[in-house]
């Protein structure tokens, strides 16, 4: 068996060039691999943060803003409070401002409403006024205290008829006392 003739220079050159090309590509792939960030920590962090904030959606914000707007629409002003007292509180009632309520985000004023010298005949008036207070927007009736004089005869005479309510106001503090 005779050996085949040696390769032609052009064949060797082609092989060398192909080998160089292959090596170059291989080296480039090895040295500069495509950078694909599979686990992007920043992205994971942002996704987590977004998931945590998901409850605070625009719809939730709009819903609560609507509630807040509704509340603000029910807040009292000096004028509306005075008008309400004039219209709803009978003349026999004493209205006394007890000062600002202990609130951080709202302006609330506590008022005491007393009906002196009342008897059981005044109960419809008392009930009507209590009803007005409970129906009035932006008002929280904190306490109602009723007591009669001791004894059978005294039971028709109220020794105490005191209603305390908080009125939520828009803006600054209300007047110290309003009659």
């Amino acid at each position: 068996m005779t050996l085949p003739p040696p390769p032609k220079p052009v064949s060797v050159a082609a092989t060398v060039l192909a080998a160089l090309f292959f090596s170059g590509v291989y080296v480039a792939r090895t040295a500069f691999p495509p950078f694909r960030m599979l686990n992007n920590p920043r992205l994971s962090e942002l996704r987590n943060e977004q998931a945590q904030l998901a409850p605070f959606s625009d719809a939730s914000a709009q819903a609560i803003a609507a509630k807040l707007g509704d509340l603000r629409g029910r807040l009292w002003t000096e004028a509306s409070f005075n008008r309400w007292v004039t219209d709803r509180a009978p003349k026999a009632w004493i209205v006394q401002a007890l000062g600002a309520a202990d609130l951080k985000h709202l302006h609330g004023r506590r008022y005491a409403f007393q009906r002196p010298n009342s008897t059981d005949k005044d109960w419809p008036e008392i009930a009507a006024f209590l009803g007005n207070l409970e129906k009035a927007p932006g008002v929280s009736v904190q306490s109602v205290a009723l007591a009669v004089q001791p004894g059978y005869a005294g039971s028709r005479q109220f020794s105490q008829c005191l209603l305390i309510a908080v009125f939520y106001f828009a803006g600054g503090d209300g007047p110290d006392a309003t009659n």
Binding site: M1, T2, P4, P5, P7, K8, S11, A14, T15, L17, A18, A19, F21, F22, V25, Y26, A28, R29, P34, F35, R36, R42, L43, L46, R47, E49, Q50, L53, A54, F56, S57, D58, S60, A61, I64, A65, L68, L71, L103, K104, H105, G108, W123, A127, L130, G131, E134, G138, V139, S140, V141, Q142, S143, V144, A145, L146, A147, V148, P150, S155
Partner: protein, 417 residues
């Protein structure tokens, strides 16, 4: 492949068939025979690009030998014990196609220990002539048999100006070959022919091939009481015209077939493989880079979107928090106080009077007096409690007096959820 020019090289006699013409020459007996042969080829008109040589020389040993069928490698292994030169890379050898004869499978083996064919090929290559193959002359002689005579017993007398050969194939298929030269050649040829014909019971096909400038004188054979007449008489041109039927890959070629795969082929395959592998890698690499860049761009875009969402949601969180704080503070106590008092009035039996009632934001307290029915199991207090408990929006506490309480004064309390 260029058209092949058949050339007969028998000792110093050379004959070429080119362009339909036969050119003959005699190489110098004492010179460089390879150089002389190359000079003869260069002198051919037109000069051939490729030649096929039919060769015999006095340096060529030949003998009939049993031989297994198989490849060149198989035959070399089988015969190297009888002809050690077959293991010598510098030697050249060839063998006729294996025939099944009376003594088994045999061949006619040629061995040239100091081979000229390699030098001949190199020298011709320098002249730009491709040496296609080198065959023994008698292989070509076998090829000249007409197809209808291929299996028949045959005797061939082949002669040139300076040598001759007698070759036969017995009815059993065995080969026999003798080459002659020198001053007594003619007598020995005649004797060989007589001996040859004597072994055939029926007359074989007798062929005479004249490769010399003058035909062999068969009249002399006749004078020697040899009556056999040749059935075929061929010229050198007719002999060489049969050259195309031989295959270079058979074992009768002195030039072992070169590997089908050359270094050039290997280089080309390697270059193509490397190039395509490199191109494939480059393609996938560039694709991966593009994909990675697109992925990064996508991630950046998602980051920006998420940052925007987070900023918006954070703003929502702040506004919701502040609004919630306001709404939480603006809690309005349940409007049940009037309803509680009205229920109290309706539920109170006449035997009970209420002395005080205090309702806070989440609790209530009641005190009173039982005028009649104190201590009864189903007294007025029990009915009062049952009626008070029916109201919605408050509960009656567990510290109420026992149903059979004998103390006429009582205190009740509960919660306003």
């Amino acid at each position: 492949m260029p058209s092949l020019c058949p050339v007969l090289w028998w000792d110093n006699t050379v004959l070429a068939r080119i362009g339909g013409q036969t050119t003959a020459a005699k190489l110098p007996a004492d010179g460089n025979d390879v150089a002389g042969f190359c000079g003869f080829v260069r002198g051919l008109k037109p000069m051939p690009k490729a030649i096929r040589v039919f060769y015999h020389s006095t340096a060529l040993e030949h003998f009939v030998t049993p031989c297994p069928k198989g490849s060149r490698r198989t035959i070399q292994r089988a015969l190297c014990h009888r002809a050690p030169a077959l293991g010598d890379p510098s030697a050249a050898w060839a063998a006729h196609s294996i025939r099944a004869g009376g003594s088994g499978t045999t061949t006619l083996l040629y061995v040239e220990p100091k081979a000229r064919v390699a030098r001949l090929r190199a020298a011709l290559a320098e002249d730009g002539v491709f040496l296609d193959a080198v065959f023994p002359i008698l292989v070509l002689v076998e090829e000249t048999a007409p197809p209808e005579d291929r299996g028949k017993p045959r005797i061939v007398l082949l002669s040139s100006d300076e040598a001759a050969a007698v070759y036969w194939i017995t009815p059993a298929g065995d080969r026999h070959a003798v080459f002659f030269d020198g001053t007594t050649a003619r007598e020995r040829i005649v004797q060989e022919l007589i001996d040859g014909f004597s072994i055939f019971k029926t007359a074989p096909v007798f062929t005479v091939i004249n490769a010399g400038s003058s035909p062999f004188d068969l009249g002399q054979i006749a004078r020697e009481n040899f009556a056999q007449k040749p059935s075929h008489i061929l010229s050198a041109a007719e002999l060489l015209d049969a050259a195309d039927g031989l295959s270079t890959r058979e074992i009768y070629n002195f030039l072992p077939p070169a590997s089908l795969v050359t270094f050039d082929h290997l280089c080309h395959v390697a270059a193509l493989g490397l190039f395509f592998a490199g191109a494939l890698m480059a393609g996938t690499y560039l694709s991966a880079i593009r994909s990675a860049r697109a992925n990064l761009t996508e991630q950046k875009a998602e980051e920006r979107t998420l940052e925007g969402d987070i900023a918006r949601l954070s703003a929502n969180q702040a506004s919701i928090g502040s609004a919630q704080a306001v709404l939480t503070e603006a809690t309005v106590a349940p409007p049940v106080k009037l309803r509680f008092l009205e229920t109290l009035n309706r539920a109170r039996p006449v035997q009970i009077s209420i002395q005080s009632a205090t309702l806070g934001e989440s609790t209530w307290t009641l005190s009173g007096h039982i005028h009649e029915g104190t201590g009864l199991e189903k007294g007025p207090l029990q009915g009062f409690l049952a009626a008070l408990q029916n109201g919605e929006g408050w509960t009656v506490g567990a510290d109420r007096p026992a149903p059979t309480a004998k103390d006429p004064d009582f205190t009740l309390s509960g919660t306003i959820p």
